[in-house]
């Protein structure tokens, strides 16, 4: 049921990933959220480069807890991706093949995903404790002063996610909820009180 994929992602793999597929991601992934994106885009706009080579890579929207002594990573679940919508089209143009976070994306982001062949993975929101166990190494690669918001590189093994929006624009957030509308019976929970 789970497809195993390894970064960096090639176009042929990206094209095969379809909305609704469960994946286990292994390899290097990059972590950045609001403040790191703001800085990266400012650097690009000033004619600079990103602090990492984005070609074929996945960026994960997250800001972790600090690790306890003796562990690699603290709680490390996804944050709301929509806050990065403003920056994502430019990031995709730098060669990103995957983005990962939680929640739906803006139409402008999806249009660029189709144009440049990029997928959006949904990690499970709130899965901080579990996610910390699939992280094998972690290092800050830029913007250390941002603390939890610094840009990080992770080595992960079998990071669980779902293809929420694929590179043809098929989007679970828009196709799925309609199927389950008006299917809930309140009595099924009231009787359990």
């Amino acid at each position: 049921m789970y497809n195993k994929i390894t970064t960096p992602l090639k176009d042929n793999i990206v094209n095969e990933l379809k909305a609704g597929q469960h994946v286990y991601i292994s390899g290097k992934i990059y972590v950045g959220r609001d403040a790191a994106h703001k800085r990266m885009i400012e650097q690009l706009e000033q004619g600079g480069k990103l602090p990492f080579d984005a070609e074929g890579q996945i960026i994960y929207y997250a800001g972790p807890c600090p690790p306890k002594p003796g562990s690699v990573a603290g709680s490390f679940g996804p944050t709301t991706s929509g806050r990065m919508d403003k920056y994502s089209p430019q990031m995709i143009k730098q060669g990103l093949k995957g983005m990962m976070g939680k929640g739906d994306r803006a139409d402008a982001v999806i249009a660029e995903m189709i144009n440049s062949k990029c997928v959006y993975f949904a990690a499970v929101g709130g899965l901080g404790a579990y996610t910390s166990t699939v992280i094998k190494s972690l290092r800050v690669i830029a913007y250390e002063d941002l603390g939890a918001e610094a840009l990080r590189e992770l080595e992960v093994v079998d990071f669980p996610a779902i293809v929420a929006i694929d590179s043809s624009g098929s989007n679970l957030y828009r196709t799925e909820p309609g199927k389950y509308a008006d299917k809930f019976d309140i009595n099924s929970v009231l009787s359990k009180k």
Binding site: C65, G126, L127
Partner: protein
């Protein structure tokens, strides 16, 4: 007059925030398991399995359930016959928060200024709501509040003529608009009445009532059930990927209001609805 050393408050607050972040309430776990049995979406079932597994793992490994360990919100009921000596009560609470986020390896998520945005580095200051009550004790309720869900909250000043239908419409509109963003399944806190800020505070306080406890007022208990039914028929589902488990509960608090007004606030929390309390 009872004397309480501020260090007792400090220590209590520290433990409350660490425990709230590591150990999900039994009422919430129970509700998650109940909905796991009812969920008809396969993706939804998988999401709920993972969420339950995650909460159990966090407790076992003593690590934060979710990396968004929140802004530190406290409701304090201070007995009027209590005298706190040592630090001021607010300073003691903030010191407790500081220690919890440092010693508990929790994320520091607070910026000093909303526009300049420099992290304070210790998750202070907390947001503290005080109420002076009768008696010689202090009740402290601690709630690390994540912002994925906080950002999806809303307030509206309805007209009296909008009535209960207006309230229902606004709640549904807010939950629909929130969609996948607040990490459903959510818990919906609703404050009705008072003034604008009173409704907002009530909507947050509403989230503290355990999911196992019905509203004491029959009218509002029925309204909570009606809203829960309507919300879970929206189809949003776990993580917004479709399903019947959009909300685990709806909690309403109300207060008298002005003849001209009907304020309604909706405060949303994710499935990691974390709160602990202590009576000193």
């Amino acid at each position: 007059m009872r004397e309480i050393d501020s260090e007792i408050i400090e220590k209590a607050v520290k433990e409350l925030f660490i425990n709230a972040n590591y150990y999900l309430g039994e009422d919430i776990l129970e509700k998650l398991k109940c909905y796991r049995k009812l969920e008809i979406s396969e993706i939804g079932q998988e999401m709920l399995d993972r969420v339950i597994e995650n909460a159990e793992l966090a407790a076992k490994n003593e690590i934060a359930i979710c990396q968004d360990t929140g802004m530190s919100v406290l409701f304090v009921e201070l007995g009027q016959d209590v005298h706190v000596h040592g630090k001021s009560i607010s300073d003691a609470i903030n010191e407790g928060v500081r220690q919890a986020y440092s010693e508990g390896y929790l994320r520091k998520s607070v910026v000093r200024d909303p526009l300049i945005r420099k992290n304070t580095g210790d998750n202070t200051p907390a947001v503290i709501h005080y109420e002076i009550v009768e008696g010689e004790s202090i009740k402290i309720q601690a709630m690390p509040k994540g912002f994925g869900s906080e950002n999806m909250s809303a307030i509206k000043m309805l007209k009296p003529s909008d009535g209960v239908e207006g309230v229902i419409d606004f709640v549904l509109e807010t939950v629909k608009k929130a969609g996948s963003n607040p990490c459903p399944p959510i818990i919906v806190g609703i404050g009705i009445g008072g003034t604008m800020e009173k409704a907002a505070i009530l909507s947050k306080k509403a989230l503290l009532r355990p999911l196992s406890e019905k509203n004491a007022d029959g009218y509002y208990a029925d309204l909570e059930d009606l809203l829960l039914s309507k919300i879970n028929n929206l189809g949003i589902g776990p993580q917004g990927l479709g399903g019947i488990t959009t909300a685990l509960g709806v909690r309403i608090e109300r207060y008298p209001t002005h003849i001209a007004g009907l304020p309604v606030a909706v405060n949303i929390t994710c499935h990691a609805s974390r709160h602990k309390e202590i009576l000193i």
